[in-house]
Symmetry: D2
Subunit: 139 residues, 4 copies
């Protein structure tokens, strides 16, 4: 186990992320959360394009349960805080929070379950051992 | 109570909806679900731009819990089936399912809680009576 | 030559299409234009997923030159009007306009060049004869 | 004139940016270009949310002419290189290029004209002098 318990990733809100309500379009928080998961894997030494080419696997989101508490606005600087809630043989559950930097307000949070699947048939595949070992143990 | 229990809305998958996995990017199913909610309100006689201008309210997603079961692909024709799971004073819970037309496979489903808020302060506001009455009673 | 000179496709503006300026995010007009091109091909009998599977080709946008004249807003109903400006061996130039239905105002217009390429190597490939013949001659 | 002639901004390609062709969806390059323009203004000391609140202005894209030369793929690291091609009283023309870091290949490039408008009526407004003076002179 080499990873830290928690991974922080910064996100800036651009016009493309907002909607006519003047705030971030809610489905886009899920994009921010995915960027954070991708960067965490990268920091641990795992590039998803290489995992696909060498092992024929990719990670697909299987389930999300997210609460949207306060809106982020154009130009806000946010932080995505990610932890592993659960490690299984073929899936991971991430607990993720998005916080606005300027006032430390929690904007949204939730759990995202990600499954390891084979890219050809979209069937479950074991997560590579090296990756499982690199990830922290959970809470 | 004038509405039907269930509302069906068709969606075609375009390139813009897919990702490099060859399938619909998971956060985009939430867009499809929102289109269906918008069209349901429209069919019941409620235009959200008029609700905003006349009553100063808008609907914001407060919580989603969605399971992604099977992938949709480019060019698929989908149907979004929506029902009301819960009607409260200032929020609604929709139960929504996305089905692929050609084989009737369930691709994803879940609950989406939508809150009625004032557009200026983003605080909860009662759902207009006329709208509550137009919506079906639930399951 | 079996196609009509012009193809019309309706688009409804949802929250997902807008930004915090209160209007459609400009890059999203390009999505609307692509939906119209896809539906035109479909109406002529060409499904792009079949073209990919049977002939190994896909269409990629090579060049856009678009002017954004007036903003569309949430809930607007738009029409995309498409014509062929140029037919070449391995590419097509579409001239496309987006008009707001309620007042017939021209919102944006421009040219989009689409190249036929092989899906494996992204190199130019001749447009299938049957497709070229089905398309109208141009202006 | 305090700015440098050229501004570089890095972009990482995530799944959200790609489509089923396996490459970045072409309209998303326009998002990358906008992020770069936003960050350039920020580096010069101009925050667009403050410009909106204090001066009631925002910048809207009026015209794009972009050529897509080679595809970017998931996980690619890109650089957006931006210059001012033209400074007018109420608009700017940016010349922007997107290059893939690993092999310095030019992926796409073009001109983007941005107009300064009042947020209420969407009519042209002079660009604030301080901003015009901070921008470089052009090529």
């Amino acid at each position: 186990m080499t990873g830290t318990k928690e991974f922080l990733w910064p996100v800036r809100v651009y016009y493309e992320d907002t909607d006519a309500g003047g705030v971030v379009y809610y489905a886009n928080y899920l994009r921010f959360m995915e960027r954070a998961r991708t960067e965490w894997l990268r920091q641990l030494g795992f590039e998803q394009d290489e995992l696909l080419q060498r092992e024929g696997i990719l990670f697909a989101v299987r389930r999300v349960a997210v609460e949207f508490r306060r809106p982020a606005r154009f130009n806000d600087r946010l932080s995505v805080r990610s932890r592993i809630r659960q490690r299984r043989r073929a899936s991971l559950v991430f607990q993720q929070e998005i916080v606005r930097d300027v006032d430390r307000q929690l904007l949204c949070d939730g759990d995202v379950q990600v499954a390891c699947i084979d890219a050809a048939g979209f069937r479950p595949r074991p997560i590579p051992d090296a990756l499982l070992e690199a990830l922290p143990d959970g809470f």
